[in-house]
């Protein structure tokens, strides 16, 4: 299925964008992904965390444990400089790709 393939390929980019504004923890990321894509992208924990660890190993994001009073500690992820560069590059190529698709398939790019 095209949608499945697309989802697989784009999830890393979506995560990077969600971390652009502020640092977030895993559960928050999964909820935001689901809400903002209106349920089209739904990532289980079993996929999400391995993906986060992979991005972390590629030094695109950085995770650290944060303790807040009265709460259990949580692991928050934030974008690194390298991650930001990667995100910009991906956005650009994604935009070009989407435009190209739009021209050929007659889909209006919103």
């Amino acid at each position: 299925m095209l949608a499945d393939e697309l989802k697989k390929g784009t999830t890393p980019m979506l995560i990077l964008s969600l971390l652009e504004a502020e640092q977030r923890h895993g559960y928050e990321l999964s909820k935001l992904l689901e809400q903002r894509t209106q349920g089209v992208v739904r990532v289980h924990a079993a996929s999400l965390y391995p993906l986060l660890y992979r991005l972390e190993r590629q030094r695109l994001i950085e995770g650290r444990w944060v303790e807040k009073p009265g709460e259990r500690r949580r692991r928050f992820y934030r974008l690194t400089a390298e991650g930001k560069r990667q995100l910009d590059a991906q956005r650009k190529s994604w935009l070009e790709f989407a435009r190209a698709i739009g021209h050929v398939a007659g889909v209006e790019y919103a």
């Binding site: 923890h25 895993g26 559960y27 999964s30 909820k31 289980h44 924990a45 079993a46 996929s47 999400l48 965390y49 391995p50 993906l51 660890y53 992979r54 190993r57 259990r72 949580r74 692991r75």
Partner: protein, 902 residues
């Protein structure tokens, strides 16, 4: 609130994270699941719904662990899981490394499989080494062996016999197709270096013997043509073995004098280590030039000049650009010319050329037949071993179905999976092959102690040469393909949907059918082997039931050869008589008498016999009868029954009326239905000697237990002098060997220089005479049992596996009220069905297979009902035993546990 940690840890167990990583990951996932659970509860979901939805976050079993691997571990699996396909050498290397790791992780499986293969390859290595030494490799210590040919004399186109010295000279002078014709004969000789003399095997050879063979000296020089000149100083060459064992590997032996049969010889050298003479059937201790050594033979003049005296073995080397066929044609022409020139002796004589030295063509044929059976047997053992390992691999393949499915789902192609599985098979084959080779070399030593090899080829240097190594490697590769290929294809046919689902496939799984088939094949093959083994055991039983016609239990035999010590006839006669008297006086000796031929020694002495009223021509073959020359008291000593007439007495003198005792078989041939006693008959070519029958004895077995009734006649020693006689000593009771020291002393008192040789009991001789059958029974029996054990282990493994996979089904049956005995019966019946199928197929296969062993059977038919029933019973018993443990395990299934496993 649920505790997720256990579940998370279980899912992560396979990833093998470091403790710190695992703690972190678990904590993070735990929180995620908590958050999810609380969110859903807040939205009004029940505890159970929320709990299940939270767990769904972990994905299906096996999913998290695969995802987590590449993501977190610094050193990921060396074999790419799917995306990158390893190709070429690097890919194969990766496959092998991964295979090695998988095998290390399952040591039980690996050891079982490698051992099974080792047993199969070991058996094959052993038998092939023997086959190689006997039939395949060239005679050790010779060069360009493919040019060497053996010559044999035929009579009316039959046989492969010895030549006379004059004939040898004519063939040698006349042949252009052979660059050399060499004559040899082996005689027993006494060698002494000053002390007591020892009996050795001496080969008398013509001067070009070593040059023709291309043998090297390991010390000094070998015999050369000049050593064979008339009047040349007598010289001797030692074999390497004799130099080591009898002369302590003394390097100063060259140039020293030894006495051979009392005559002085100078040792000029030692032959190379591998060379033991040109006969595989016996090693030679000393090589002597024929011309000087002929003086050692009794009646030397006659041996040299008479065309009728045939005593030489000939071999030759093909001249350059000559073929075997050309040599055969040329030598046949010479044989025809000789027959025309010397009809008196050479009429009907021909010559046969046979490629290769070491064994006569008929012996070669017998050995080939025997070895074919053994090769077939060990081939079957290897097949069974392969089936067994294939089965193990299949079972393992089922257990690994999920792993393979995950690989496939991540993009690994089928060929990729096959390659991976084959790499594991290859490693198993190498492990098993190496262990098997070592096992084979070790068991070779045991096999060579078996009678047929130990007695006939005692010093056969069976070793590991490049041929054996190549064979071992080929067997390894072949068996690797046999056992690894089918399971690899079977297992790699992954059904993603089924395999990735939770739970286990049931018994209808297609793999289980292939597994069942393999077990049936194993049982069928081992049935064939067991039938063969059973037939050989029955043959042995039949042989031991045969009445040889004389007592074997209490008789010791020992040979004296005074002829080699320069005795004349009168002195020898006195010696034999005195020796007999002294032995009869030994305490414990009941009777003693000497005879020329010892029964069941394999060989004999025969001549032609004619009725008295026939004056035969030299061509008339008459009746062929064996002869023995014996002293009075011989028949009583051996417990042979005199049916009529009398034994020989001191009254049967040389020059007196010639007398004989005949056996029933000869009496019946000469005087059918009549009374033999007092009758006369003619003996020898031309029938010139006339003998009168003074006694008739019962027909016994003389040369072999399985011969048809053989005409036999006995002459008194006084009228049929022989230079070598064998003492037969019958003890009153107990072990005949007890009197041996006293017998030896009795001979020493007469002449210290005379050794006793070929000391045995008749019981031992009897046992040796059935050596081939004993060897066959031992080897086929051992390998048959090995096959049965392998097949039983295979059946056990299959049943145990099937039961473990059907735990749930058993549980359901028992939950629905099935009795434990019902479940047990169910499992046993399943095993019995497999065994029955194996028996039926095995019986069908055994019919043609046992035809190959028919030639080796005595007193039993290939379809012997006793053997067949016995073997079937053994096989079914083994099957039940193999299924019993799994059957009991099946009844111990707790329905609750079984159902929960879903």
């Amino acid at each position: 609130m649920p505790n997720w940690n256990d579940e998370i840890r279980r899912r992560l167990a396979e990833v093998r994270l470091s403790a710190a990583d695992e703690a972190n990951v678990t904590e993070e996932l735990h929180q995620h699941l908590d958050d999810r659970y609380h969110d859903l509860r807040a939205k009004g979901a029940s505890h159970e719904v929320a709990r299940r939805a939270a767990l769904e976050e972990l994905g299906e079993d096996g999913f998290l662990d695969v995802r987590m691997r590449g993501a977190i571990r610094r050193a990921p699996e060396p074999v790419p899981i799917g995306a990158r396909e390893g190709r070429g050498v690097a890919g194969v290397w990766g496959d092998l490394r991964f295979g090695a790791r998988m095998l290390r992780r399952a040591p039980g499986f690996t050891v079982t499989a490698a051992l099974t293969i080792a047993l199969g390859i070991g058996a094959n290595t052993t038998i092939f080494s023997i086959l190689n030494a006997l039939l395949l490799r060239p005679l050790p210590g010779t060069v360009r062996s493919n040019e060497l040919v053996l010559l044999g004399r035929t009579q009316q186109g039959q046989g492969f016999d010895t030549f006379s010295y004059p004939d040898f000279l004519d063939y040698r002078a006349g042949s252009r197709t052979l660059s050399a014709v060499v004559a040899t004969t082996v005689i027993p000789a006494h060698v002494s270096t000053g002390g007591a003399s020892e009996r050795v095997r001496a080969e008398l050879v013509t001067g070009d013997y070593f040059a023709t063979l291309g043998t090297h000296a390991s010390l000094g020089r070998l015999l050369i043509a000049a050593d064979a000149d008339d009047g040349a100083p007598p010289v001797a060459v030692l074999s390497h073995g004799a130099w080591q064992s009898r002369f302590g590997a003394d390097r100063t032996i060259v140039g020293r004098n030894v006495r051979i049969n009392g005559a002085p010889y100078t040792v000029v050298g030692v032959a190379e280590e591998r060379f033991n003479g040109v006969r595989l059937s016996g090693v030679v201790d000393v090589f002597l030039p024929m011309t000087t050594a002929m003086a050692l033979l009794p009646d030397a003049g006659g041996m040299r000049d008479q065309r009728g005296a045939v005593w030489l073995n000939l071999f030759g080397r093909l001249a350059p650009r000559s073929s075997l066929a050309q040599a055969q044609a040329e030598l046949s022409t010479i044989a025809t010319a000789l027959a025309t020139r010397f009809p008196e002796t050479n009429k009907g004589r021909g010559l046969r050329v046979s490629p290769g030295l070491g064994l006569e063509p008929s012996t070669r044929g017998d050995i080939a037949k025997f070895m074919t059976i053994l090769v077939g047997v060990v081939g079957l053992v290897l097949l069974i071993a392969c089936a067994n390992v294939a089965n193990l691999l299949l079972a393992r393949g089922s257990a690994r179905a999920r792993e393979l499915a995950v690989r496939a789902s991540l993009g690994a192609s089928r060929s990729r999976l096959v390659r991976q599985l084959l790499a594991e098979g290859f490693l198993l084959a190498v492990l098993g092959g190496a262990a098997g080779f070592a096992l084979g070399v070790w068991s070779l030593r045991l096999a060579l102690r078996l009678p047929v090899f130990a007695n006939s080829f005692g010093a056969l240097a069976v070793g590991i040469d490049p041929r054996v190594v190549t064979f071992g490697a080929a067997a390894m590769v072949l068996s690797g393909l046999l056992f690894a290929l089918p399971p690899a294809f079977r297992t790699s046919r992954v059904d993603l949907v089924t395999a990735l689902k939770l739970g286990t496939p049931g018994s209808g799984d297609i793999r289980s059918r292939l597994r069942g088939g393999l077990v049936v094949a194993q049982l069928a093959l081992s049935l064939v082997l067991l039938v063969a083994a059973g037939l050989f055991v029955r043959t042995l039983q039949a042989l031991y039931r045969i009445e040889p016609g004389f007592d074997t239990g209490r008789v010791l035999v020992a040979t004296v050869d005074p002829g080699m010590q320069g005795y004349d006839e009168a002195r020898m006669t006195r010696l034999f008589e005195e020796f007999q008297q002294r032995v009869r006086a030994v305490p414990g000796v009941e009777r003693a008498a000497m005879g020329f031929i010892v029964p069941l020694g394999g060989g004999g002495w025969d001549s032609r016999v004619y009725p008295f009223d026939v004056k035969p021509t030299p061509d008339d073959p008459g009746i062929k009868s064996d002869i023995n020359a014996v002293f009075p008291g011989y028949f009583e000593t051996l417990g042979m029954r005199l049916l009529n007439g009398r034994d020989f007495t001191a009254g049967d003198r040389p020059g007196g009326p010639a007398v004989a005792v005949v056996n029933e078989a000869l009496a019946e041939e000469l005087w059918p239905g009549g009374n033999a006693l007092g009758q006369r008959f003619r003996l020898g070519r031309g029938g010139n000697e006339v003998l009168e029958v003074v006694g008739v004895v019962r027909t016994a077995r003389y040369r072999s237990l399985v011969e048809p009734p053989r005409p036999f006649l006995y002459r008194p020693f006084s009228q049929a002098f022989r230079a070598s006689m064998t003492m037969h000593v019958r003890v009153a009771s107990g072990d005949p060997y007890v009197v041996l020291p006293a017998v030896r002393r009795a001979l020493d008192e007469i002449d210290r220089d005379l050794p006793l040789s070929r000391v045995q009991t008749l019981e031992q001789r009897l046992s040796e005479s059935v050596g081939a059958q004993r060897t066959a029974a031992t080897l086929v029996g051992t390998y048959g049992l090995l096959a049965l054990v392998l097949a039983a282990v295979g059946l056990y493994g299959s049943m145990a596996y099937s039961v473990s996979r059907r735990t749930r089904e058993m549980g359901v049956r028992m939950a629905l009220g099935a009795h434990t005995s019902d479940v047990r019966r169910h499992v046993l019946l399943q095993a019995l069905r497999i065994a029955a199928l194996g028996v039926v197929i095995g019986l069908i296969a055994a019919v043609p297979a046992t035809r190959f062993v028919r030639s080796q059977l005595v007193g039993v038919e290939p379809d012997d009902p006793v053997t067949l029933t016995g073997v079937i019973a053994v096989l079914v018993a083994a099957a039940v035993a193999a299924a019993y443990v799994p059957a009991r395990r099946a009844t111990r299934v707790d329905p609750v546990v079984a159902l929960r496993s879903e």
